[in-house]
C-alpha cells in the first residue's frame, strides 16, 4: 500500500505542479524519483511532525496540494493539535498519509501501534478518513483521494499487505461489497479485511451466508449501506485493527443506534487495552481476538 499510494502520488505530481510531498524522514519506494524530478516540491522534513503539519498548511494556503507522510502515531497524534487548527480549522488541502495502521509494526511495540488514530481524526470537523484494505484498493482510490483534496487522513499498511477481494472499482465515500451474503454483514476497514473474508469462509461451513463489506471511507460514512443492512440482516458486525472506541465500530454504531430498529450488533476490535506481549501482526491479531478464527467463533454464537 505504501508503493501504490506513493507511486500514484508521484505520477500525479509529475502532471500537477501544485503537488508537494513531505516525508517525516520515512522511506518510500520512489525517493530517488521525487528527489530528481520534483525539486522543491519534495522535502524530507525530518522528525518535526508539528512543524511539518504547520508548514504543509502554510504551503496549502498559497495554493499547493500537500501530502505529508510518516508512520501513523508520529504524523497523527504527535501533531494532533496542528492537524486540528492548521489543517481542519483553516480547511487546507493537506492529506496525511499514515503508514503502519493497526499492528503493522507488531514487534516494534506500543509506541508504533496505531489503534486510536481513526477515533482521534474522525472527530475533527472537515477531516475525511480513508482506510483502504489492500494494495489494489489503494491504487484504485488514490486518484480519487488526490482529486478530492484535503483535509484527508489516509491510513495505509506497512507494505506487506496482500491483494484480496478485487471487484469492481471502488468509489470514495461508498462502501464496497467484497463477498455477497444474506444472513449477516461484516463491515471492516483496512487490511484486516482478509480476516473478515476468511471468517466468512469458515462460517459457510456452518451454512451461514455472511456478507463482507469494505468501509474504506470511514468518514464521510456510507450511511445508506448500513441502514439497508439494518433492515434485512439477522446481525451486523464490524471488524477493525483499531480500538473499539471511536473507530469504524463506533461510526457504524452511531448510525444503527439512531435507526428505529436494528438487528444484533457486535464490534470486533482492540478492547480498551494494551498488548503486553509482542510479535508479528498475525500474532497480535490473534492475541487481541480479531483474527478470522475468533471472529467466526463469536459470530457462530450469535447466529446459531
Amino acid at each position: 500500500m505504501r508503493f501504490e499510494s506513493i507511486n500514484t502520488l508521484y505520477e500525479a505530481a509529475l502532471r500537477d505542479e501544485r503537488i508537494v510531498f513531505i516525508t517525516g524522514d520515512f522511506g518510500h519506494p520512489r525517493t530517488e524519483d521525487f528527489k530528481k524530478n520534483l525539486g522543491g516540491r519534495y522535502m524530507n522534513a525530518g522528525m518535526s511532525e508539528q512543524h511539518i503539519i504547520g508548514m504543509a498548511a502554510g504551503l496549502a494556503l498559497e495554493g499547493m496540494k500537500v501530502f505529508v507522510y510518516s508512520i501513523v502515531p508520529f504524523i497523527t497524534l504527535r501533531c494532533f493539535e496542528q492537524i486540528k487548527v492548521d489543517v481542519c480549522y483553516h480547511n487546507t488541502d493537506v492529506t496525511i498519509i499514515g503508514a503502519g495502521g493497526g499492528f503493522a509494526y507488531g514487534a516494534a511495540g506500543g509506541t508504533h501501534y496505531a489503534i486510536e488514530d481513526i477515533a482521534a481524526l474522525r472527530a475533527l470537523p472537515r477531516m475525511k478518513v480513508i482506510v483502504p484494505s489492500s494494495p489494489w484498493e489503494t491504487r484504485m482510490l488514490m486518484p480519487q483521494i488526490i482529486a478530492a483534496g484535503g483535509p484527508t487522513y489516509l491510513r495505509i499498511g506497512r507494505g506487506k499487505e496482500i491483494d484480496f477481494g478485487e471487484n469492481e472499482a471502488p468509489t470514495l465515500g461508498r462502501s464496497q461489497v467484497l463477498r455477497k451474503g444474506s444472513d449477516a454483514t461484516i463491515f471492516f476497514a483496512g487490511p484486516i479485511g482478509k480476516e473478515a473474508l476468511d471468517a466468512a469462509e469458515i462460517l459457510k461451513q456452518c451454512d451461514l451466508d455472511v456478507e463482507v463489506i469494505s468501509m474504506h471511507t470511514i468518514k464521510p460514512i456510507d450511511r445508506d449501506a448500513i441502514a439497508l443492512r439494518a433492515g434485512n440482516r439477522r446481525a451486523i458486525f464490524t471488524l477493525e485493527e483499531h480500538s473499539v472506541l471511536g473507530g469504524l465500530g463506533s461510526a457504524v454504531a452511531e448510525i444503527l443506534a439512531e435507526l428505529p430498529e436494528h438487528p444484533v450488533f457486535l464490534r470486533f476490535g482492540v478492547q480498551d487495552t494494551w498488548p503486553v506481549l509482542f510479535g508479528s501482526q498475525t500474532y497480535l491479531r490473534n492475541a487481541m481476538g480479531i483474527s478470522a478464527m475468533h471472529v467466526a467463533e463469536k459470530i457462530k454464537k450469535v447466529l446459531l
Binding site: R41, H51, M55, G58, L59, E62, Q82
Partner: protein, 277 residues
C-alpha cells in the same frame, strides 16, 4: 511609503499608533474582553508593518504580490483589527461588532473573518510553521514578497517554534522575518514573568545558534523598528522587539494582570486620557 524616515513620518506613525491604541482600548472595554497588555505592546510593531513596511493594498487584500503577516500571537487580535481598520481594510464601524453575539470577529484571529487576516491563530507556537510553509510556497512560485510572523515571547516556550526555526534555516528562507514582541509577560496569573516561568534568555544567542540573523531593538521606536523590518538578508531574520506590556497607558504598563483583565469605566476613561493626542 518606504521613503526615507523624516521627523514628520515618525510623528505620523506615532499619531497612527495612538489611534490604534485607542481603538484597542475601546473595543476591549466595550466587549468586556481581555488581552489588552499584549495588544498595546504590539501596537507600534503593527503600525510600522501596516503603515510603512509591508507592501499591501487594502482595496485588494488578496493580491498575490502582497506581503503577508501571520499573527502568531492571535490573542492580540484587537491590535490587528485596530491596525487593519485604521489602514482601511474595512470600516471602523465593523469593530463595534467585537464581543457581540454572532459576530465573525472572534477574540483570536480567524483567517478571512475580515479582509487582511491571513491565518487563524490563538494556540501558541503555530505561526512560524505556517510562515515557513507560506514563504516556501512564495519562493517556489518566484513571488518576490515577504512573510512576517508576529509572535509573543511566551509562545516561544512551544517546541514547535524551535522545529520551525530549524526548518527556516535549513531552507534558507530569506523572505521570512520573525518578530518577537518581547514584553516579558504571558498569562502568568501567579505574577511570574515569562523568564521566571520558562527562561528564554539568552534569546538572541539561541536564535543565532539556530542560524537566523538576529537583531534586538526597541519595539516602541519607529527609528529602530522600520530599518530593522526593512532590512533584507541572505538568511531568515528574527527581530527581538523589546516592548513594554500595555505600552501607552502608564498605570497598566509592565503589570502582568493586564494580560487578562478588562478595565472598569474609571480605568477606561483614565486610559483614554493618557492616549489623547
Amino acid at each position: 511609503m518606504m521613503s526615507a524616515l523624516t521627523h514628520e513620518h515618525i510623528r505620523d506613525l506615532e499619531h497612527t499608533a495612538k489611534n490604534i491604541r485607542r481603538t484597542i482600548l475601546e473595543i476591549i472595554f466595550r466587549a468586556k474582553s481581555s488581552h489588552i497588555g499584549c495588544s498595546l505592546s504590539a501596537a507600534d510593531i503593527l503600525t510600522a508593518l501596516y503603515f510603512n513596511v509591508m507592501k499591501i493594498d487594502p482595496r485588494h487584500p488578496q493580491k498575490d504580490d502582497r506581503d503577508r503577516l501571520v499573527m502568531s500571537k492571535g490573542h492580540a487580535v484587537s491590535g490587528l483589527y485596530a491596525a487593519l481598520a485604521e489602514r482601511g481594510f474595512f470600516p471602523q464601524e465593523k469593530l463595534k461588532e467585537y464581543g457581540t453575539e454572532g459576530t465573525n470577529l472572534a477574540s483570536h484571529v480567524v483567517r478571512g473573518s475580515v479582509p487582511g487576516t491571513e491565518t487563524s491563530n490563538g494556540s501558541g507556537g503555530h505561526g512560524l510553521s505556517l510562515g515557513v510553509g507560506i514563504a516556501l510556497a512564495l519562493r517556489n512560485k518566484k513571488n518576490n514578497t515577504r512573510v512576517f510572523v508576529l509572535s509573543g515571547d511566551g509562545e516561544l516556550q512551544e517546541g514547535s517554534v524551535w522545529e520551525a526555526l530549524l526548518s527556516g534555516a535549513t531552507h534558507v528562507l530569506d523572505n521570512l522575518t520573525l518578530i518577537v514582541d518581547r514584553n516579558r509577560f504571558q498569562d502568568g496569573q501567579d505574577g511570574n514573568g515569562t523568564d521566571q516561568i520558562l527562561a528564554l534568555e539568552p534569546l538572541d544567542k539561541k536564535f543565532e545558534a539556530f542560524g537566523w540573523e538576529t537583531e534586538t531593538i526597541d519595539g516602541h521606536s519607529f527609528i529602530e523598528l522600520i530599518p530593522a523590518l526593512m532590512r533584507h538578508s541572505k538568511r531568515p531574520r528574527v527581530i527581538i522587539a523589546n516592548t513594554i506590556k500595555a505600552k501607552g497607558v502608564p498605570f497598566m504598563e509592565g503589570r502582568p494582570e493586564w494580560h487578562g483583565k478588562c478595565p472598569d469605566e474609571d480605568q477606561y476613561n483614565l486610559a483614554l486620557k493618557e492616549l489623547a493626542h
